[in-house]
């Protein structure tokens, strides 16, 4: 019970501390921090319109967070989800415009599968480099993300460019029949359902199946896993492939539901925000859903802060960074028994209390 309380209280405390520091920062810029907090809430969860905006942003965050969480369960820190997302979007656009896909649900599914496949292969490459050559996957995945972005720009501005797109190089638009529409006429597209489903299914897989358990053993203690004879390399690659597929799917859905073609707007740092979401959710797929909605809300409120209070658009980035720092700092409070730490901090006072009858 006490542990459960701590699991909830620590992230909320860290978030509150981040908001406090952020409030001080905007106060220095001459903005009333209470106005800021109210607008942050209003822009994220204030009315139906902001909820739609929030959920629309939460969908890719859930999927890119899974790209961090699944490898993390296998003991890897992969931070190149942005690359998988970008290539996923590109593969989806390329498949939908260059291949004769049927203009119906099956065609949409195929285009999304192409995106997921591209993402899976990209992140698997980082996993394979680690397993085969012992290369730090954190560095290699991020370098691969920069390569992916270069490749994306090259193809979108070159071979795949729609000649009619003058100012903003883009690929051809997806045919009407392949696009992903809103749920029940709203702006919230089916990507949200895919994101929640992926979190539920992968969370269930990790908790309930033998292969999911084996993956967590590999992540928890590689030596034990080897002694048990688990196929560590195969499990690590599987985790990377599934995570990459999620990020690739995020890109594909963004293209098919939001942008309708692949262009530079796709590079919107969802991959990096997903790292933060996954760390706050402690790499637990089920916890990713609420955290992604919260950070989708911050993203949605960002434009309101910019419009109403004149804060720079990077405000949300600062808030994200602060939250990340406080979340990590709160890890220190997780260590050991809080009462013991209290006694360590105030040895004299604790001794006094214990000696008095």
């Amino acid at each position: 019970m006490r542990n459960a309380l701590r699991e909830i209280a620590l992230p909320i405390g860290a978030l509150a501390a981040a908001l406090l520091v952020f409030g001080a920062l905007v106060w220095l810029a001459g903005v009333d921090p209470f106005d800021m907090a109210w607008l942050l809430f209003k822009g994220a969860f204030g009315d139906a319109f902001s909820w739609q905006n929030t959920l629309q942003r939460a969908a890719p965050l859930m999927l890119t967070a899974l790209c961090v969480a699944l490898p993390a369960q296998a003991g890897l820190v992969v931070i190149g989800g942005e690359g998988a997302l970008v290539l996923g979007g590109l593969a989806c656009a390329a498949a939908a415009t260059q291949l004769p896909l049927p203009a119906n649900l099956a065609g949409s599914v195929l285009a999304c599968v192409a995106g997921a496949l591209a993402g899976a292969l990209w992140v698997m490459l980082a996993g394979a480099l680690r397993q085969v050559r012992g290369i730090n996957e954190t560095i290699s995945s991020l370098l691969l993300a920069y390569v992916a972005i270069g490749l994306f720009k090259h193809l979108v501005e070159g071979p795949l460019r729609d000649p009619a797109s003058l100012n903003k190089p883009s690929t051809l638009s997806l045919p009407e029949g392949l696009r992903i529409g809103g749920i029940a006429g709203s702006d919230v597209h089916w990507g949200l359902v895919l994101g929640v489903l992926a979190c539920l299914l992968l969370g269930g897989w990790l908790r309930l199946t033998a292969s999911g358990f084996a993956l967590r053993v590999v992540g928890g203690n590689l030596r034990t896993a080897q002694l048990m004879g688990l196929p560590a390399t195969r499990l690590v690659l599987l985790a990377c492939a599934l995570g990459g597929a999620c990020a690739g799917l995020a890109g594909a859905v963004e293209v098919a539901a939001v942008h309708t073609n692949a262009n530079a707007s796709l590079i919107a740092a969802y991959g990096y925000a997903g790292i933060l979401v996954s760390f706050i959710a402690r790499h637990q797929p089920l916890a990713i859903v609420p955290v992604a909605i919260l950070f989708g809300g911050f993203g949605a409120a960002g434009s309101l802060l910019q419009r109403r209070l004149g804060l720079p658009d990077a405000s949300v980035l600062v808030l994200q960074g602060l939250t990340f720092v406080f979340i990590l700092a709160s890890e220190a409070l997780r260590q050991g028994d809080p009462a013991a730490r209290w006694r360590r901090l105030w040895p004299a006072r604790a001794a006094l209390k214990e000696s008095s009858p």
Binding site: V132, R133, I135, I139, L276, V318, G321, V325, A329
Partner: protein, 305 residues
């Protein structure tokens, strides 16, 4: 291509290696110092961007590029100290902290640097080393960043200090065996704090080279992973400050290929050529890393090798 075009291309690549290599040199020296003490700082990417903004802002407000350089170095040291402070808490992982500071540093830089995108700041003077040549392309290429000699001296100094001074040996001791340092009565946390903050200070000079020399302006795309490439570069240089110089020149040259080709009129594959440094880094990691074995020169306490 004609002979003139070849000279232009080569001059552009060499010039690029000197211009683009300078920030690489400072960031890799900073990372080298930090890693020698047994800690990895992935947050140097954030340090680089924040110090680039601080340098530009300082130079703009004070009208002196050297005040800007000082501001950049101090901003770098401040953010790196935050990294050191967080990592010294129990149960806090240095890789995760680095990622957090990457986000925070970039965020803060974009937030505070919003008003600095338009104006022009006074630039660092260039050392004209190309006077011997009559070719304007060569002369332009050898306009060298005034901070670059400082970086070269620093590399030599660090290399000497790691082998010959008490401070240098202490940093290496903390990096190779924290227990031994503790047994001798030194505070490992304190040494690492100093090495991380010092690394941030040096990396901050790299940020200053970005906004006060080349490209010479502040915008939100000022750095795209140079800070992280530097981490890989230190592995490639096998934790030796002198080898960092060669590595930085190589990476600077690789980064200059795209713009150099564009300068002789080859626009094809501009974005592809810009990915060369990342591909080169990966290739070097593939060649130098071996599974199950520790790279030569690697500090023993490094959590992420």
């Amino acid at each position: 291509m004609s002979a003139d075009q070849w000279i232009t291309l080569l001059a552009a690549i060499v010039g690029g290696a000197l211009r683009v290599g300078a920030p690489f040199l400072f960031v890799s020296l900073g990372e080298c110092l930090t890693e020698k003490s047994g800690r990895i700082n992935l947050g140097l990417e954030g340090v680089l961007v924040l110090s680039a903004m601080a340098s530009f802002g300082g130079a703009y407000l004070s009208d002196s590029p050297w005040v800007g350089v000082l501001c950049g170095a101090l901003a770098g040291a401040a953010l790196a100290s935050l990294h050191a402070g967080l990592c010294s808490l129990p149960g806090v992982n240095d890789v995760a902290t680095g990622i957090a500071l990457m986000l925070l540093g970039t965020g803060l830089a974009f937030y505070l640097g919003k008003p600095l995108i338009q104006p022009q700041a006074p630039q660092l003077p260039a050392l004209a080393l190309g006077q011997w040549s009559s070719s304007p392309a060569v002369q332009a290429a050898l306009q060298v960043n005034a901070l670059l000699p400082l970086g070269l001296v620093l590399a030599g100094l660090m290399s000497w200090a790691f082998a010959n001074t008490r401070m240098g040996l202490l940093v290496r001791l903390a990096g190779d065996s924290a227990d031994a340092a503790r047994a001798l009565g030194y505070s490992v946390g304190g040494i690492r704090w100093a090495a991380t903050a010092g690394g941030g200070l040096i990396a901050g000079l790299g940020g200053a080279s970005l906004t006060l020399f080349y490209p010479g302006s502040w915008n939100e795309g000022i750095s795209s992973g140079q800070g992280l490439i530097a981490v890989a570069l230190v592995i490639f240089a096998r934790w030796s400050p002198l080898r960092c110089v060669g590595a930085a020149a190589l990476f600077g040259g690789a980064g200059a290929v795209g713009p150099a080709l564009q300068s002789v009129g080859i626009g094809w594959g501009y974005h592809l050529f810009n990915t060369v440094p990342y591909g080169l880094t990966l290739l070097i990691l593939v060649i130098t890393c071996r599974p199950g074995s520790v790279a030569a020169g690697s500090p023993g306490e490094l959590s992420s090798r």
